[in-house]
């Protein structure tokens, strides 16, 4: 299949992916570091290379409200946000998932105020893990483009009907230029059929869509919503396989295990830091260390069985969180522990908090994490939650 090479930033890759998915309605509100994605889309609409209604709304709350209105009307919709904007639309996130609107949204991961910061961590999206959206975290521009396309296929699947948030690390992915392969429109059309929802507002058969329900019914709706998100497990795999067949780039679905087959020490990551971690794993493997990496791709649905299976023989598992639930631990750590405990596995698990507010996570930091894991695996005492590379305020 024809795929054209292009040198673009992550934001531009998202815009290209969105264009190829042919959304009919795009709603936009700017926020760094997502802005360029929306600028590119508005250019495409301006040039006529994308036939979509592009509406410039007055807030993120309105961006998602408008997307819901369009989706209820039966249109494929796209929007993008980041950080404060994501939090500002928090009410609408729950609304969209409860209303089962298959909206796809890019989120440029960025820290949240206070202190103000435009740089990246995962506290924005992870704090909304319970909003009912499927959440995928990509590593680079190519994965960003590809996941926009996959996201529509997943969200719109009748078993799923759940909105999808495609997360890109702010600046690290959104602003880094990389060569990517752009599939042709014809190839995308063959992979992703146009949006034809079974349930939408219809003049021939009018529908009351968003409504209230009494305690007697509410739980049934929430159960169905849960079933939708659970069904996504299978659908994500199917879509990824189909995507692989169409474009030659499967991603492994919910997560990717790297050199984990005989790994005794496993580090679990999310997002772009996985690239750095992969290099460290390679270097340590060359030194004969049995280390491996798990890159979680989907935080919802969470790769419960997959992680438990990969970590079956691990002597220690480290979880790198670019977020923290203050007074407790990182969200990824909580989720991994739950997956392991649910499977009766109790290796030492260590929570490394790193890269908050855009702080760099260096190779040395990841080496430190593996050192800590080795020590814990050998039975030495360890700190459950540790801030890595804290900087000037530490003793070391």
């Amino acid at each position: 299949m024809a795929q054209v090479k292009q040198f673009v930033s992550g934001n531009e890759a998202v815009a290209i992916g969105a264009r190829l998915a042919c959304p009919q309605v795009i709603t936009a509100y700017p926020i760094t570091p997502q802005t360029v994605a929306m600028e590119r889309l508005s250019e495409m609409v301006g040039e006529g290379t994308l036939q979509a209604q592009f509406i410039l709304v007055e807030s993120e709350h309105s961006a998602l409200s408008a997307a819901m209105g369009a989706s209820a009307f039966g249109s494929r919709t796209f929007t993008a946000t980041s950080s404060q904007g994501l939090l500002y639309m928090a009410e609408c996130l729950h609304y969209a998932s409860g209303g089962r609107f298959p909206i796809v949204m890019m989120n440029a991961n960025r820290s949240v105020a206070l202190p103000w910061s435009i740089y990246g961590d995962h506290r924005d999206s992870l704090s909304l893990l319970d909003s009912g959206w499927l959440q995928v975290y990509v590593e680079d521009a190519q994965e960003a483009l590809d996941m926009i396309l996959q996201a529509y296929a997943i969200a719109e699947n009748e078993q799923v009907l759940t909105p999808v948030m495609v997360n890109l690390d702010g600046f690290t992915v959104t602003h880094t230029y990389e060569p990517i392969r752009v599939p042709s429109q014809a190839a995308v059309d063959a992979f992703l059929p146009s949006f034809a929802p079974a349930i939408k507002m219809d003049l021939a058969k009018p529908l009351n869509m968003g409504f209230s329900s009494t305690p007697a019914d509410n739980m049934a709706f929430k159960y169905q919503q849960h079933q939708g998100a659970e069904a996504a497990r299978c659908v994500i795999d199917q879509v990824d396989r189909s995507f692989g067949e169409h474009f030659g780039r499967p991603y492994g679905g919910l997560m990717e295990a790297y050199r984990c087959d005989d790994a005794e020490l496993i580090l679990i990551t999310l997002g772009s830091v996985s690239g750095t971690a992969r290099r460290v794993v390679d270097a340590l493997r060359e030194q004969g260390e049995k280390v491996g990496l798990v890159k979680i791709r989907f935080m919802r649905p969470f790769p419960r069985e997959e992680i438990a299976a990969v970590a079956r023989n691990a002597r220690a598992v480290g979880i790198l969180d670019r977020d923290i639930s203050f007074g407790y631990e990182g969200a990824v750590y909580t989720n991994v522990n739950s997956a392991l405990a649910g499977n009766g596995q109790v290796p030492p698990t260590l929570n490394f908090i790193a890269g908050l507010g855009g702080r760099d996570i260096r190779k040395e930091d990841i080496e430190t994490m593996f050192l800590r894991l080795a020590s814990a695996a050998d039975g030495r005492p360890f700190q459950r939650v540790e801030f890595i590379h804290l900087g000037v305020m530490t003793d070391d």
Partner: protein, 307 residues
């Protein structure tokens, strides 16, 4: 199928021609609810090719209790702040799908309009979305039990502005939504009252025919919150106009017009005394209300250029 909208809009709707078809029935509004009447009548004018959006508030609460849906047309509850933005998304989708003979209407309360929803409304007017936005004004947050909103009039007792030894009811002035909306240079705006049904029908019809955003602000008394008998809704709505506290007006292409010009005002104290929420007002407070009415009218006479 009903006739295309353009033709329907050309035929004047009045008591005789109003359809018997119901698009809002089986709802659970209180007896005598002015808001419910406004929704019901507006939908009769617009017909079945209409999509409605209602934010949190009484009309969504009484209209969409699963599985008893009260709307015979496509309709949906929006977030409290999101009426105009959800309508905007629908308008965009309608354009994308080439549906240009449908009506998109929102029905929001005074709180949903003048307070939390004003940003989205402002944005939609700014984009000149082809939507009809109806504010049914019952002068308080009724669905949560009669708390003060930005449109609660001076002196009104609400649960958050109680009348007691140290407090005198709502202290501030009713926000002037009509002026706020017309200051945007909106395509069409009108104030009306559910006590003047023909005026309301005319304005909905007018709104349906314009190419762009239309805003209709309808005074819609709430017997429960106002402390009036359930059969007094229309009478009290009329009286608000007769005593000069509410104005029936239109705005289009930069021009203002009154659709009813009272020659002489009926006494404000009569209007206030009929309502439980004003029962505590002292004479000097009534005079204060009167003074403000006169100021408003003198503003209208000076600025609207229509008397």
């Amino acid at each position: 199928m009903t006739e295309p909208v353009s033709k329907a809009a050309a035929k004047p709707v009045n008591a005789r021609t109003l359809t018997e078809q119901e698009f809002f029935f089986g709802h659970k509004a209180c007896a005598g609810c002015g808001g419910a009447l406004a929704v019901r009548l507006a939908l009769k004018v617009l017909g079945e090719r209409t999509y409605a959006v209602l934010p949190a508030g009484c009309m969504s609460a009484v209209g969409f209790i699963y599985p008893q849906m009260a709307f015979g047309i496509n309709a949906m509850i929006s977030t409290f702040a999101g009426t105009a933005s959800m309508l905007s998304g629908m308008a965009a989708a309608a354009r994308a799908q080439g549906l240009n003979d449908v009506h998109l209407i929102g029905f929001a309360g005074d709180g949903g309009t003048a307070d939390i929803g004003i940003q989205a409304l402002s944005g939609a007017i700014d984009r000149n979305e082809k939507i009809i936005y109806v504010c049914y004004d019952n002068e308080a947050y009724m669905n949560t039990g009669t708390q003060k909103s930005g449109l609660t009039p001076f002196g009104a007792h609400t649960t958050t502005t109680p009348a007691g030894a140290m407090s005198r009811g709502a202290g501030n002035r009713k926000k002037n939504m009509f002026d706020i909306v017309t200051a945007h240079g909106i395509t069409y705006a009108a104030t009306t009252s559910i006590g003047h049904i023909q005026d309301f029908l005319n304005k909905i019809q007018r709104a349906a025919a314009v190419e762009g955003t239309a805003y209709i602000h309808v005074l819609a008394p709430c017997p429960t919150g106002w402390g009036i008998a359930t059969d007094q809704t229309l009478a009290i709505a009329r009286e608000a106009v007769d005593c000069g506290l509410w104005v029936l007006a239109e705005y289009e292409k930069g021009r203002y017009a009154l659709t009813k010009t009272p020659q002489q005002f009926t006494p404000i104290s009569d209007y206030l005394k009929k309502q439980g929420r004003f029962r505590h007002l002292l004479e000097k407070e009534v005079e204060e209300v009167e003074r403000e009415r006169d100021e408003r009218w003198s503003y209208i006479r000076r600025h609207w250029n229509c008397l």
